[in-house]
Point group: none
DNA sequence: TATGAATGAGCGTTCATTCAT
DNA sequence: TATGAATGAACGCTCATTCAT
């Protein structure tokens, strides 16, 4: 691994654990075992480093989600795969995943960070869900629901459970699996059941 | 309103908008139109002020939720009232509500803040939901679900939609109402529908 | 004891233990069990309080020293009485005596304190010793020594031992008694012994 | 001279003149003609700087005292050399020596300074005197006296005269020389003179 | 007399950033 | 590439002091 890559990993870890302000450039350099001057050399300002760290993590997650939803299953099943892949990714990167909870439009952006860039980057997560919902409504696996709101609610459901799992002391046996069931129940098209 | 109260309101606003680190004590004092020395005089350290601001907001919300769930409706209906009251409260305090998104166990606690105190304070939000779920399962309005996970997922749903509404640029016509429907669909006990 | 007197005692204790800067007006008020506003009311500024506390202690010590040297003994004996009374006084006021080590021309005056006033106040301690030395040389109990230097050296001896006793961890069985012997040996006029 | 050394000299000067509290880090930086950030960079906290400044001065003095007492003269003569070297050192460093009057177990330690470290550092000054006294008693140049108390009293005598010379307005022609004579007279073993 | 709300100068300290090497 | 000396804005905080009650 190059020093540049080591800095990026260290930044994801430090920013994820401590947040933008509390994580210092010296701290990142220390975790990467390089001099702090090298951080600026490669990544410029602290803000730039934060975005680079967040976007790198986002790119890896997008790749996994794309892979998971690429099959020819129906819309509801795609959403299940999306959620499964998302939760699997968080489990596999518990140390560095929290950077995505920080560098996300669903979180307060630190003043000085370009929120628009972050929002644009993350729109792909929502757009993917929208496609799944649309497809599911078309193929009959998902009941008639407003596409936009439903996608946002599902994403909120995912992130809510990830936050519960990674951040709170309110521990649960298997909140990820229950969250998937919760969403499936809500979306599933059952012809003989009226709404509420 | 006393100056002490003005400082508390200003702190909720500043911490909510900017976060613990980016919001400065001088900024809070400026919003409250008092000298910065008075902040320490009444609240001690910045961390103490943060907790006071968060807990004050939490107390007000708890009061509303208690009022909303106090009726003799069934468990599912109690959850609907809980969610309705929660969303109404966020709408009525858009300026100062975000302190609760910051000072919450579902968020990263700033290093130096006593996370245990926060978690204890907020456990009432989850506990209230647990009671509703239990009651709903007993009275037959809610299907057989694990109480703890379900309560946490509902709370995640609520906070997810609040975050979407207050923080993101992904605007939606009426995400709060759709979120309530989403939860109702998922929880409602329909004897003739199997789970998934 | 009036509140004014209680403040003075508390100031001697606080300034003695903590020094001018580290001792706060609130601390003094707390020890005296009065509100901090009352301190300013009676004594004006912190500097004024410091001088009042130091001078009060000095006055009490001067009274004891005067009493001790008032007899009709010879000069050497007067010095012994002076030293004995001085050490006795420090023992009896271990809690509050250190104010005199702080508010003294033999210590660094805190910037802002009127050093000249302090020096004038304390000159009486040296002058008393000078008289004793002069008298002793006249009455033959003390050898021929320069009056001024000898008085200063004796005073330095006294304060040195007080500092050793009150401040250092270098404990000693009876440094006060040994100090008196040390001075007596050095001053005593022994006709058959040349100097060195 | 490196900037680090310049900061140390400036700290000795500033702390010596003004004391720990009244001397500010910005003041030290100004005297050293460096930015105040560099002080933290090299020395950490103000307290660390204070100890570094005091210990550096102590080390230089110890070197001189060791040199002065290394000869094969008798114990009494060693003490004379010790005192002579001590007084010479204070004269040669009148600007920066006072740090040693502040950073010393014979002075009130500022709250927050590690008094035990200081006491340990300074014990060498007393220990050197103890050796001289012991040796002098053995070789017959010093009368039978308690070693510990006598060493402490001699050190008190030295510091008393240094304080008188450097701090007070009570000026004297040659207090240092008279102090040496004072100690010599008191210690010298005169077989035909009884004690007092 | 007696209180403490209110002020703000000034402190030590942190830390992103620049730049000579 | 890689280092860390050097800078200074900005922070939280303390505390003497004033003054209305």
């Amino acid at each position: 691994m190059t020093k540049k890559e080591m800095i990026l990993k260290a930044a994801q870890e430090a920013f994820g654990q401590l947040g933008f302000h509390a994580a210092t450039v010296k701290d990142v350099a220390g975790r990467a075992d390089v001099s702090f001057g090298l951080v600026s050399h490669y990544f410029g300002s602290k803000q730039d480093l934060f975005l680079a760290a967040g976007f790198d993590m986002a790119d890896h997650l997008v790749a996994k989600l794309t892979e998971a939803t690429d099959g020819d299953q129906n819309g509801l099943e795609s959403i299940r795969q999306y959620m499964t892949a998302y939760f699997k990714f968080t489990d596999e990167h518990r140390n560095r995943f929290p950077i995505l909870l920080r560098c996300s439009p669903f979180s307060h952006m630190e003043p000085g960070i370009d929120a628009a860039k972050v929002a644009e980057k993350f729109s792909v997560f929502i757009d993917k869900l929208k496609s799944c919902v649309s497809q599911g409504i078309e193929d009959g696996s998902i009941r008639e629901l407003p596409t936009n709101e439903t996608a946002l609610i599902i994403y909120g459901n995912i992130v809510g459970s990830v936050r519960t799992s990674l951040l709170t002391p309110y521990k649960s046996e298997d909140i990820f699996m229950e969250t998937i069931k919760h969403v499936m129940r809500s979306l599933k098209n059952s012809p003989d059941q009226e709404g509420c």
